[in-house]
């Protein structure tokens, strides 16, 4: 019982309300949002410390029996995700002011961002499927509004598929949750896990849970349900697409990491085989799609799809080593991907357009932006000594040890193609003579460059501290796979 577990959700909610009161005053809003972001970092840091020893924090709201009530749970993995969300969100706040293109884009930006964070944080901590649905909706509504901020015609048209796919996914999710409740009599994940272990569920339950898993796959942007992502992300306001890129699909990944060990049993089975196939397809199709694109954020968006494949690959192999590698990969990816979108966004602001060829020679005129792109780009491609190298290294070792030859080999090939794509952006935007720089001064904005370099630096630190961080990922994976500590923490001793 720890009441302050509500803080990561309540704090952004209250901040959002407060921010609404300062409607047109952007500086004040920004200052308040920064203070709230710093507080969130502190709270989340505390949760991370408390859970580091292996304790699982729970908060049954209103002290209802968790099988019918709402319970919030924070274990090591949830704390890691909360911490990453707070870090990326704070970096985005530093980045935001200069990145906004016009007045329309900045209206309601800060309150909506806080609501988004409330939804994201809630999704990480919730212990039952229905509450997860609610937090998904909170997150989605905020993300819809953020995505269409500025309402340029092209942006609105591209936002519609995102909105529709996610709405249909939500409808399926709710239907699935209803069917789970109808067949199992509870939507609490721990209780469901106990029932699954006792083998006491009717076949219809498996239909319902499959529906829910499909929804998670849509949110994660796994092949074949990824198409909504690469179209919509490049159209969002720049700072927001950075936050989405780092965080939103990873909420889907997290829900899969949370659900599959609880529901899928302790040994790899058919579910894991399907996930393994999908993850390999996702890696490959994402990277191939990126090769055909011709805009900075378009290319980077396809790489999100490809990278999600790596994380799910770790989950699908399902050995403790592989799941730990998957968690490590999530940590690395959230930081690196946001940094890449931030650096690409600066180039887009300087050049006035995101297509390759609009702007060139940034390395000569804006060396720090170039560093802020180069480091995460190499990390994404998996070159040593950056964080991505270790992420891929652990995954590949785990994959070969578990005998997943094809998928692991695909992941190696995809790494090379990723490098090709990153070099494509690098040569077009940063190399060569300076050209097309319509607003070069924007590229020196301390907030934008600082946030980008901060995240790039964090990626280097993750690379250098790979050993202790991976050890921690292994602890988190062990806790996740053991299942019984989680179930006992939520429901008490049987």
């Amino acid at each position: 019982m720890s009441n302050w577990l509500v803080a990561p959700v309540i704090l952004p909610l209250l901040t959002a309300i407060l921010l609404m009161a300062f409607g047109g005053r952007k500086q004040v809003q920004h200052a308040i949002a920064m203070i709230s972001g710093a507080l969130l970092l502190a709270v989340v840091g505390l949760i991370t410390l408390r859970t580091a020893g292996g304790e699982i924090l729970t908060l049954p709201l209103g002290s209802w029996d968790p099988r019918v009530g709402i319970i919030w749970v924070a274990d090591r993995l949830a704390a890691i995700m909360l911490a990453l969300a707070a870090i990326v969100s704070f970096a985005m706040l530093v980045y935001t002011p200069a990145s906004q293109r016009d007045e329309r884009e900045s209206r309601y930006f800060y309150p909506l961002h806080q609501l988004l964070m409330a939804g994201v944080n809630g999704s990480f901590m919730t212990g039952d499927f229905f509450n997860l649905f609610v937090f998904f909706e909170v997150m989605l509504l905020a993300s819809f509004s953020l995505l269409s901020l500025g309402s340029r015609p092209r942006q609105l048209r591209k936002a519609f598929p995102y909105v529709l796919v996610n709405l249909v996914a939500s409808a399926l999710f709710l239907g699935g949750v209803g069917a789970i409740y109808g067949t199992a009599g509870t939507v609490n994940m721990a209780e469901l896990s106990r029932r699954v272990a006792a083998d006491g569920l009717p076949p219809a339950f498996w239909g319902a849970i499959t529906l829910v898993l499909v929804v998670f796959a849509i949110k994660t942007a796994l092949v074949p349900v990824f198409f909504w992502l690469p179209d919509s992300y490049p159209e969002a306001p720049i700072a927001i697409s950075g936050l989405f890129a780092g965080l939103l699909t990873k909420v889907g990944v997290y829900t899969l990491f949370r659900t599959v060990p609880l529901i899928g049993g302790s040994e790899p089975g058919r579910l894991h085989a399907i996930l393994l196939f999908l993850s390999a397809a996702t890696m490959l199709i994402g990277v191939l799609g990126a090769l055909g694109r011709n805009g900075i954020r378009e290319i980077l968006s396809f790489h999100i799809v490809s990278q999600v494949g790596y994380m799910i690959f770790g989950l699908a192999v399902f050995t403790p080593l592989a799941v730990a590698a998957g968690i490590f990969y999530i940590v690395h990816h959230i930081i690196v991907k946001t940094a890449l979108f931030f650096a690409g966004g600066i180039a887009e602001r300087v050049g006035g357009s995101g297509s390759l060829g609009a702007v060139g020679g940034m390395a000569g005129t804006h060396p720090w932006v170039a560093v802020g792109f180069f480091v995460p780009a190499m990390a994404l491609a998996g070159l040593p000594p950056f964080s991505g190298f270790w992420g891929k290294f652990f995954l590949i070792v785990a994959g070969y040890r578990a005998g997943a030859w094809t998928a692991t080999t695909i992941s190696l090939v995809v790494g090379i193609l990723t490098l090709a794509s990153m070099l494509k952006i690098w040569t077009a935007v940063f190399w060569g003579k300076a050209e097309g720089q319509r607003e070069p001064a924007l590229g020196h904005d301390p907030g934008m460059v600082g946030a980008t370099l901060g995240l790039a630096g964090l990626s280097v630190v993750i690379g250098l501290l790979a050993a202790p961080l991976f050890a921690y990922s292994q602890q988190a994976a062990a806790q996740l796979l053991a299942v019984s500590p989680y179930v006992t923490a939520v429901l008490g001793e049987p």
Binding site: S148, R154, L156, F160, L167, L174, A179
Partner: protein
Amino acid sequence: MIGFAALLVCVLFASGVYLMLSGNVQRIAIGFILLSNGVNLLVLAASGLPQGAVPPLLEKDTLPGDAFADPLAQAFILTAIVIGLGTASFLLALAASTHRETDSDELRPEAEG
């Protein structure tokens, strides 16, 4: 009764999805409203419909043998209705601003600005 509910869910889903696939922002909004109502009905049906069951209130005229309607499923639906309303109003706002910006309700590539 359950068969009838299933049929109704089926019709609501089919017409909702049909409208959502049309590429016209107003039809999409209406389609979503149908779809979300279909899902709410699905949740109610999955919980075993309150057929002849009494509200779960313990009063003196409640008989020991009375079956109670499942309150949790109805709480789910109540929440979902609220969320559905919020989402529908967002969709309508999006449709309105699409119309304002592009002078058309259609989501066609040639309307690119």
